[in-house]
Amino acid sequence: MSEATGRTLWAALQLLDRQLRDRHDILCGNVDDVELTYDDDEKVLYATAILSGPGRLARRMGRRRVGDWLVAFFASTTVDGHDPSRIPFRVVRNFGPVIDLAVDADDLASFATERWVRDHVISHIPGNDHAAE
């Protein structure tokens, strides 16, 4: 076996279920799964993105249909239709007990349910324009 030269990570041990933290140090979910992509030319498998969000966890727990529906639903609520549960590895600042990201928590799927309820339910209730005392 050739000697590995780059940073080494054990996916189940050091990645799955780890806490995610955004660029303002706000906790913003956990690593629910990892996207793997084949490079057919090189016959190499690359880890390309961290997946985090309610749909991703449901799929990992075996609820494939519900998970896929949730992922598609939250992607449809974004402005450009991108999947907010997909976090490319290139925006990860640090791997440790907590995984630090270079993005805002508001851009991720972890708070998608809260955002949807805020925009589609709470904002239509009279008196929604001031905070609770």
């Binding site: 080494t8 054990w10 390309t48 290139r90």
Partner: protein
């Protein structure tokens, strides 16, 4: 494909012997550039019939102590194989089956 799907994959030797499912994956950041960082490449898989204590790190995570727990955990899970991805001959993600090359031999324990 997803890491959780790889964990559901059964690994077989070239002569058809079932080694067990994939329990962990070693990623090495030495791939082509993706933005300002290198991509993580799947370098090796950990295969075992039983997963007792595997996520404590005694088998492949460099954890050494407490030695009493290490002895118990390693005794409970004897057939743990760390297999380089280069030893994978065929991978069928749909059938959740992974076949190793005939040249692969278990590392001496």
């Amino acid at each position: 494909m997803l890491l959780s799907e790889l964990f559901a994959t059964q690994v077989h030797t070239a002569d058809g012997r079932l080694l067990g499912p994939v329990r962990d994956v070693r990623l090495v950041q030495d791939g082509p550039l993706d933005g300002f960082t290198a991509k993580f490449r799947v370098d090796a898989i950990v295969v075992a019939r039983r997963s007792v204590g595997l996520r404590l790190g005694y088998h492949h995570g460099g954890v050494r102590s407490p030695w009493v727990i290490r002895r118990v955990v390693t005794a409970l899970s004897t057939e743990v194989h760390t297999i380089p991805w280069t030893d994978v001959a065929d991978h069928d993600p749909e059938g959740q089956r992974l076949m190793l090359q005939a040249t692969w031999k278990p590392a001496p324990s």
